[in-house]
Structures are given as C-alpha cells and as structure tokens.
C-alpha cells in the first residue's frame, strides 16, 4: 500500500487535551425524552448561570455538555456532574441556580433533586447505587449520556474510529469477518441471525458494486433503542458501518431512519458531515485507499419498512412492500446489488468487538446469545427507560431490580416483549434467562427489544387486540394471509372485548393464527399472530371469561362493565336517575333504584353522582 494511515493515537491525545481544558463537564441529557421534558431550557439556564463560575474542583471552568440519552427517561431531565458522580433527576430550569450555587461552587449536592429509591424511599447519592444503572452493562450505550453527540472530537476522545483505523491498518477484510463471526454477535433487529455469517454471505459477492444498509426504521410501539444510539453516539454507528463496508467490499451505504426521528436524523447528518470533512469517512479514509460514503434515507412512516426487503424497496423509491426471499439481499439487494443490511444496534456493537476482541464480547451472554442487548423498558414499572444488559439476564432482574418493580405496588401480570411481533411472557417466565432461543421457545422473541410491563389491571385480550390492530394497520397489504388474516383476527378480538365473542371464535383465531404464521410472505405476517398465540397459551381463561361469562377479569373492557345499585345502600335519593343520560335508572323516591342493563351505556355518570356509594361496578 502506498498510502499512509494517520496516527490515530496522536489524534486522540489531541482531543483529550481539549476535553480536559473544558474543566468541569456538566452533562445534561438532550435525548428526545429529556428534550420533551424541557432539557434545552435547562441547558440554556446552565450556560447563563454556570458559564463564568469557578468550580470547587479547582478546574478552570465549567462546560455544559448536551448529551445523548442517559436511559433513565422516567426521571428526566437528567443532569450528571461527574466530580461527585451524581445524577440529578427531574431538573427544571428553576433548579439550575441551586445546582450551580450549591454543587458547583461549594461542592454540596442538592439533595432534593437526587433520585429516590422506590424501595427504601431514600435519596441516592452515588450513580452506582441507583439500581436502574447498577445492574446494567452499558457497552453499546457506553457513550450515550457521556459525550456531546454533535462533536466528533468528543467521540474521538472515547475511541471512535480507532477500530476502523485498526482494520485499515491490518488490511484484511476476511479477518474482520472472522472476528465478528467468532464474537457470536447476532442481529439485534429481532431475527437474531448470526451477523458474521451475513457478512460472509455478502462478502462472497465482492468485486462489483455492493452496499451496506443500516436499518434504523425502529417502529415497534414503545421501542427507542436505535433512536438513542443514533442520537447519543452517532459515530459509533457510522464507524460500525464503515468497518462492515470494508469487510464486505462496499463503498456506499444508506441509513434508513424513520422521519419521526428528526433529532436522530439531524445528529447523523452533523456526524456524517463532520466525519467526511475530517477524513474519517468519505474518500481515502484516514489516509487509506478505502472510500466509504453514507447517505441518509428518511422513512415515510411505514412499519413494514423495518422488514429488510421492504426497506430496500423503499430506498429504491418503490412502494414499501416486502419482496420474496430468496434472493436474499446478500446476493440481490439494493438496486439489484449485493447488500449487507444490519440493524443500528448490531452495527453499533462492531467497533467495540474489533477493539476489545471477540473473546471479550463472547464472555458476556449465554451459550448461543452473546454480548449485551438494549431494551426499552416501558409500561407499569417504576423505572422506565433505556437499559442495556448482558444476554441471559432474567426478566425478574429487569423488571424488579432495574425497573424497580411494578408501579403503585400492583401485582405483576405479564410483559409483552418484541413489540407486535413478539409475545407475552408471564410470571412463570420471570426467571428465564432472556436470549434469542429461550424467548422463541416461550412463544415470544427478542425483537428489537421493546419491553412493555403490564400489571394486574391490564386486560390481556385487549392487549392482543391492540397489537393486532397495529399489525393490521401496518400490513402492507401484499400477501393474502397477512392482509385478510389479520383483519379477521382483529375483528374477532374486537368482538370478544365487546362481549360479543363466541367459543368457536377461539378456534377460528387459532386456525387463522397458524395459517397466517405459516403462510405469510414476510416477517411481519409470520410473527403477527404471536401476541394472540402467546396470550391464548398463557391466558386462555381470560378469553373464556370474556366470551362465556361476558366478564373482563381486569375490569378494563368497557362493554363488559356491569353497573348495579346496591339496594342495601341506596337511599332512593333519585340523584342517579336524574343524572343518567339515557334514562336507564328506574325507581321511586326513598326506594332502592335499579339499572336497566339493556339501556345502560356504562358511562359511569351515576357512579359519580351517588352520595352513598351505592353504585357498584364489577
């Protein structure tokens, strides 16, 4: 090779010096969640009040760093001050003054803004003592929340592009693939296909034009893992893509991002522009003869475009409909060329594997699922947010340790894992080590990592209906089983939650679920029945209660509410009868009243009107 690579260590030293010169770094989360909670105003306030302050740490100055997502979105706006290793939660602009005066100037933590442990009800001083963080292993998300995502220098200081430098120096693309294969990394987008193998298949077509495509069309309701990576540490993703491109012999790439992620798109654009300008992407990367150009394609809001062939069609400007496989994208993908398509999180793992080695990576996780996995923890847990744990962590650890248990002391009922393609797991699965294969065996899937926790007040049939409604709306309409099958499954579920189900509906549901699973064209259809199948498996009695007893055990389904008047308690004041908008309540003064169920619309007006608590809802 006639080209000479730059000295990356030297570059790193340079930027580290710069960062040191920043003095005390106050890290304010500027992820989407915290921005929604007003973090931009907090940042402004900090800049106003803290700019010319000399901190207690005897550093020269204070620098306010807007960072990516810290993960603990429940508690945003989050402000981390590393000198005392303290996280302030729910920070409002009006709190900033106190933080500056007390913490920064005098080194005294502002206790009232500290996180309160839901179990002990005490303030937590050290970050490492916050349960939410304590049980996590953050590697993919390591820099999210630590660095300014819009600064290449800050990324470089954490080691960005060092792995790319390493592979360019070694000059052996096959060795890169070998390393990824050895690490045991599997696709983080849901399917769990071995990443190294995918790279190998695509690399088999080296020679002509090929592409790397990053799937950032994160569409599962409640999932935001990929968004956080793109927003918080875009260079990690870009570097992973460049390494992938080098390995398979591609010089052009696309990131397909949902248009609903404007911040991620903005930060990616900033990152690409800066990296290209400084020679970390684009032509002759870091002085080598490797070229790699990355484009951003904004999605148009179709969930199905997360399916790789539909995504490819969408980039090509076609309607986002899946294409039959084979041919696989590795052989015939974007514009008919060999294409490597990986999810954001998968690619974000690459640089760390190259730097720390396959053995380091495979030391985490279970036998067949290595490394860590990010999850978006939402629903009825105390600590919702973005987490990263080693594969094989149990549901109990996630829900009860990291998540801090069920909100309001309610009882745990189930989690929906893997979004609309996943399934429900119940109490019996709490101690199941979560990895690809265990979850599939349990009728769910890792999916992209959405984890919705449900408590005893959740109607499981309604949950199944919700997800079926989602898949039906998002079905592309191409193949019959998915288009017509999900429509009919949805109709049945709607019937059941309206109290109009029949026992034979369960049979039809099961029949349809199997046909849709077996017969559909793409992953969306093949997995669409999972929520129904898994809830039927674990909560059949709830379905039966809805159908036979016309009763919703969780008391959620409106149509099945029965409102009655307790004759013992009713004083015959007639208030309820006067309030009822449909005249369903009969009775005379001073005599117990009665509700005509055929007229009652379950609006609950009487419930609120009764001064004697005589109105009962089942």
């Amino acid at each position: 090779m006639t080209t000479t690579l730059i000295d990356i260590k030297k570059e790193q030293e340079k930027v580290k010096e710069q960062i040191k010169a920043q003095g005390l770094r106050v890290l304010v989360c500027a992820g989407t969640g915290c921005v929604a909670n007003g973090s931009l105003k907090v940042i402004e306030k900090f800049k106003e009040l803290g700019a010319n302050v000399r901190p207690m740490t005897h550093q020269d100055k204070v620098t306010i760093v807007p960072t990516g997502c810290h993960g603990f979105c429940e508690q945003g706006v989050l402000v981390v001050i590393p000198d005392l290793d303290i996280t302030y939660v729910r920070v409002k602009p009006e709190d900033v003054e106190e933080i500056v005066e007390s913490h920064i100037k005098e080194g005294k933590p502002v206790e009232r803004l500290l996180y309160v442990d839901p179990k002990t009800n005490e303030h937590v001083f050290k970050n490492e003592d916050i349960n939410f963080y304590a049980k996590q292993t953050r590697t993919t998300l390591a820099n999210c929340g630590e660095i300014n995502a819009e600064s290449l220098d800050e990324a470089l200081a954490t080691g960005a592009y060092e792995a790319l430098h390493k592979v360019l120096e070694q000059g052996n693309p096959d060795a890169v693939i070998e390393e990824i294969t050895k690490s045991g990394l599997r696709g983080r987008g849901g399917g769990g296909f071995p990443t190294g193998l995918k790279w190998k298949f695509t690399a088999a077509n080296r020679g002509g034009k090929s592409y790397v495509v990053c799937n950032g069309d994160e569409g599962d309701p409640g999932a935001f893992m990929d968004r956080s990576v793109m927003e918080g540490d875009p260079h990690k993703l870009l570097e992973g893509m460049a390494i992938a491109g080098y390995a398979i012999g591609a010089d052009e790439a696309y990131i397909y991002v949902r248009a609903e992620y404007p911040l991620a798109i903005h930060r990616l654009r900033v990152a690409i522009a800066e990296a290209e300008k400084r020679g970390y992407l684009g032509k002759n990367i870091m002085g080598s003869d490797f070229n790699f150009e990355i484009h951003i394609k904004e999605g148009a809001g179709a969930f199905v475009c997360g399916e790789e062939t539909a995504l490819i069609a969408s980039i090509e400007g076609e309607r986002g409909m899946p294409r039959p496989k084979p041919p696989f994208p590795a052989n015939k993908g974007l514009f008919g060329r060999p294409t490597l398509i990986n999810n954001v999180e998968t690619l974000a793992n690459v640089s760390t594997i190259i730097l720390k080695g396959a053995d380091w990576f495979s030391s985490m996780g279970t036998e067949k699922s290595k490394g860590t996995k990010t999850f978006a923890l939402t629903g009825e847990v105390n600590n919702t947010g973005l987490i990263e744990v080693p594969m094989g962590t149990t549901l109990r650890e996630i829900v009860f340790d990291i998540g801090g248990g069920i909100r309001g002391g309610k009882k745990f009922k189930a989690v929906q894992i893997g979004g609309p393609s996943g399934g429900c797991l119940t109490e019996e699965h709490l101690d199941l080590p979560m990895d690809y294969d265990n979850l599939i065996a349990a009728g769910a899937m890792v999916g992209s990592g959405g984890l919705v926790v449900m408590n005893e007040d959740t109607c499981i049939v309604e949950v199944a209906r919700f997800f079926m409604n989602f898949t039906q709306n998002e079905s592309c309409g191409k193949c019959v089983p998915c288009r017509e099958g999900t429509k009919n499954m949805l109709k049945i579920l709607e019937r059941i939650v309206k109290g109009k189900g029949e026992m034979k509906d369960i049979e039809t549901l099961e029949e349809l679920a199997t046909a849709v699973k077996d017969g559909s064209l793409c992953g969306l259809g093949k997995t669409a029945p999972n929520p129904v199948l898994s809830t039927l498996k674990y909560f059949k009695d709830e379905y039966i209660a809805h159908i036979k007893d016309k009763r919703c055990p969780a008391g959620v389904c409106e149509a099945m509410k029965v409102i009655t008047i307790d004759a013992e308690l009713c004083k015959g004041c007639t208030k309820c009868a006067r309030t009822c908008p449909v005249g369903a309540i009969e009775g005379t003064v001073r005599n117990p009243h009665h509700i005509d169920q055929s007229k009652c619309i379950k609006c609950g007006a009487c419930f609120n009107a009764c001064p004697f608590k005589a109105i009962k809802q089942n």
Binding site: A302, N473, G477, K478, P481, R483, L512, D518, G519, L521
Partner: protein, 594 residues
Amino acid sequence: MSDIKTLTVNGKVVEFSDEPNLLEVIRKAGFHVPTFCYRPDLTQYGACRMCVVEVEYPNGRKLINSSCTMPPEAGIVVKTNTERTRRIRKTVLELLLANHDRECTTCDKSGKCELQQYAEEYGIKDVSKYVQKKEKDFLPIDDSNPSIVRDPNKCILCGACVRACQEFQGHAVLGFANRGSKTLVQPIAGKPLASVDCVFCGQCQAVCPTGALTIKNEVNAAWDLITDTNKKVVAQIAPSVRVAIGEEFGLEPGENSIKLINAALKEIGFDLVFDTNFSADLTIMEEAHEFVERVSKGENLPLFTSCCPAWVRYLETQHPDMLNHLSSCKSPQGMLSSVLRELVPQYFEGFTKENLYIVSIMPCTAKKVEAKRAQLRKDGRFDTDIVLTTQELAKMIKSAGIDFNSLTPCDGDSPFAEYTGAGTIFGASGGVAEAAVRTAYEFVTGEPLSDLDIKGMRGVDKGHRCKDVELDIKGSKVKVRVVSTLKEAEKSIQEIKNGTADFHMLEVMACPGGCINGGGQPRSCDDSKIKEKRAAGLYKEDTELQYRRSNDNPDIKKLYKEYLEAPGSHKAHELLHTAYQDKFKGSYKDVVKQ
C-alpha cells in the same frame, strides 16, 4: 447448456436445468400447484401464497414457502399436497372469497375465473365465519372507457395487472393505494381509467385471475345488429384471431381456423365476411410507399408503424413531439372499414351506406378505443361500428349453439378477403416490418426480393422484444428495428431523442409478442409457449399461401386499378390515411370520454 440436476417432487425425481423457479419444475414433473399471482412473463411476486409447498433440504432444514419465488435446488424434497399446504390454500381461498363480490353468475369471468375454479376444487362451501364484504362496502365499477371494465370489488390484489402495466408498458397506470386490508389497486390518484394515460392494451385484464378486470363486452350489441333485419352486417377478422380462437373450442394454439371462423360468422348471421389480412396487404402498399418516400427525402425518419392503437395512443399522450414519425396509414382495421363503407354498396347488391354495419373481430382491446377516434368517423358515423375481441366472438359462437369444430370450412367474400402471407404475419411482432420490407424492396429495386424469410425479425418470446435487422437493398443499408411492449418502445424513443438511434424503421406492438398475444385473445398468461405456437401458426400459413408479397395480391392490384389509382395517391390518402393529435394541444379530444 447448464447442467442437469435433480430434485424430488411428491416422491418423483425430476430433472431440471434452467427453470426460473421451483413452481416451473413442479409443473414439469406433472403436478399442478394453484396460483393467482404467478405469471411466467412477469416478475415473481409471491403474494397469493397459493403455491406454497413444503421443502426439505439435504441438510435436514425444512421450510414452507411459495414455490414461485424459490429457486430450484438439487437434492431438495418437495411436497405440494400436504396437510399444511392445503390448509394455507384453503384459508387463503376462504379469506379471499369472504372479501369478494360473489355474484358469480353475472360476472363476465364466470367459468374462466381462477378464484371460482380453486374454490370449487378445494371444496369451499362456507366462508361465513369471516368478515363478509357487504354491498355497503362496494366500490363503484369503472366502465369509463370503451375497452376495459374495472370492478374493484372482485380484485384479490395479486398485483398481476400492476406488474403487467409496469413491466410490459413501462407505464404504471395502475398501482397500489393504501395499506393493510384497505389496500386497493387503482389507476393513478383513484381516477377512472379513461382519465389517465391508459393505452388500453388490455394486458392487465389478460393476466387478471378474477373478474376485477374484464373486456367491455359488446356481444349483445352485436346480436342486436345482426337480428335487426333492416341492417346489413359485415365482419372483418384480424390476422391473429385465426390462430387463437380454436383454443376456446379445444384446438391447439396456432391451429389456423380462419375458414371455420368464416363459417361461424355466416352461421351467426353476418351478411358478408371479409378479412383484415386483405387490408394488412393494403397497409403494406401504402406504408412501404411512404417509407421509400421518406428514405429518399430523408424526412421524418425513423418511420414508426401505426397499426397498433395502444402504441399510437402512447405516442399521442407521452411523446406528441414524435408524432411526425408515425406512418400516416390507418391501421388495417381502419383501412378496411373505410374501404368497405365506400365500396361495399358499390360491389354488393342490397347494401347501402345507411344499412351497412361493420363489426371487426380483433385480438385487441385497444381497437375498441381506436374505432371511436374522431378521425375515423365520416358523415356522422364511425367507420367501424363494433369491435369484438376474440374472446367475445368465442362467446357469441357458443351462445349461438354452433359446434365450431364440425362446421364446413368456407372462404371469405371476394374481393376483400384475398390475402398474402405478408398480410397474415401482421399478427406476430416483426410481421409488419417483414411484410413492409418484402414490398419496399421491390418498390426500390423493381425486382422481387428472393429470400422472403427475414428470420431476424421473428420471435415472440421474452428474449425477442427488441430485434435489430440490417438489410442490404442494392447496396444501400437499411436498418429496421422491431419492438414489442411499450417499455421497449420507450427505450428506442430515448435513443432517437438522444441521437444514438441508427434505424430507419421502427415497428412497435404494445403487447408482448404482438397481436397473437393481444389483450382480447383467449387466456394465455400461464403458459408463455402459447404465443410461440400462435406465431408459428401464422408463419406456417405464410409459407403455404400462393402469394407472399402484398404487392402480388391480385385483389389489391384490382383495387388500385379500379379505384385507388396508386399507393400514396390523393384518393388513397383520403381513404387510407389519417392524422394524429397532440394531447397537450387544445385539439386533443379524448375519444374515451365521448
């Protein structure tokens, strides 16, 4: 040749080599798997899931997948008829039927509908457990144009029409709208077909498995003419009809049944039966003359043929700046109708201009639109009254109770039924150009062309959609290009526009392979060999006829002598030539909206 490999289908070992997909190998093995969306000439789509099969790989991996999208692999074991595959197919059928306008008896596709056929084969009797399509859900039927009827309530979204429009015509008049169960196939922006730039080739309808796209049926209107004793009704039959209609009566594709058609038309009650092959010869006389003239003047080259109405409409709507290239000749249908209007009252007793009605039998849905062009109208009447497609004529013959195969063959009526081999090959892509060259050679050199078979212009399969032939006419080189499908035509247009085209004549047929595969022909979309057989039937007749050059046709000679004077004469222009309209200029009156 690629290697011969084997795989197993239902326990039977089958050899395969270059079959494009597993479904073709399964068919080769003699098994039938149902499908709605697989069409050999279109890209594989994999949407209907009817052709699902269970496959076991040599390494033990098992899967279930659509056979139309799977590449055949050596050593795999395929089962087409298992409990799982049958269950999927049954569910698919039930779901489709529940969401279908099931008024089968009054559907134009009844008896030819694949959904109906498979529902019967799979014994679907009750779909009441699924959401039913009710009358309130019905969308309006689009019969805005004279050619194609679109009934969205019968669409099963197999996407064959969308692919046909895109892949044959490069045109994408039809597309998908909405998502999930609200998905629809519709013309751009939900407009009626008449309001978009549809060329009415009818290929969408030819690949449609159900009654969602059908030919506008004019059989009843034809019967009304025939049964009216005050009217004299004559017929003309296009070249490619004769090698296809027999399929409706159990004959092999390509078997020439012109004499049976003549007999059937007489039996039905047509007063006179003529042959469009005659006017194909007439077209060649005019077009070859025009070509020679343009070459000698170096004007408006390359010359575009104008026989195909879908192509004419395509140019008018998409490239009006190129209309000067189009031959001013009317199509053979148009020529014969105007000649008949003029001369039948003179030649035949009892016929007057007023009582003469002309019905043409065409392989083509676009001809129905062509017949309604303002330019093909004289004294307040259209030259052609009714255009029936091959399919419609077959229905008419059946409803008349005629046993087609046992008819006594008969000839058409002189003097407008005599034809040459040049006329008959009009029906296959390349035929017009070949016929034109046979005559043009003689016009230029004064000597008859010795070798009449210009093989380079022939071929109707997927690999022969663009053919270039260079001819040596006494030292001067003439290049002729033959294309079928408008997608190919568009490429040639772009070549002309960017200055890289070096051909002098461009023959365009919109349907893949030409008229033998026209939108009005009997169904041929699931076997791409059918069109080759039909073309072979035409080329066979070409070699069997006494005359093979249009200028040798004695009746044509007579017509020029007695009436038209000479090719390109004033009289010929009046009767046989036409003009075109620029869609973007005020003068464009859209015929389909009238």
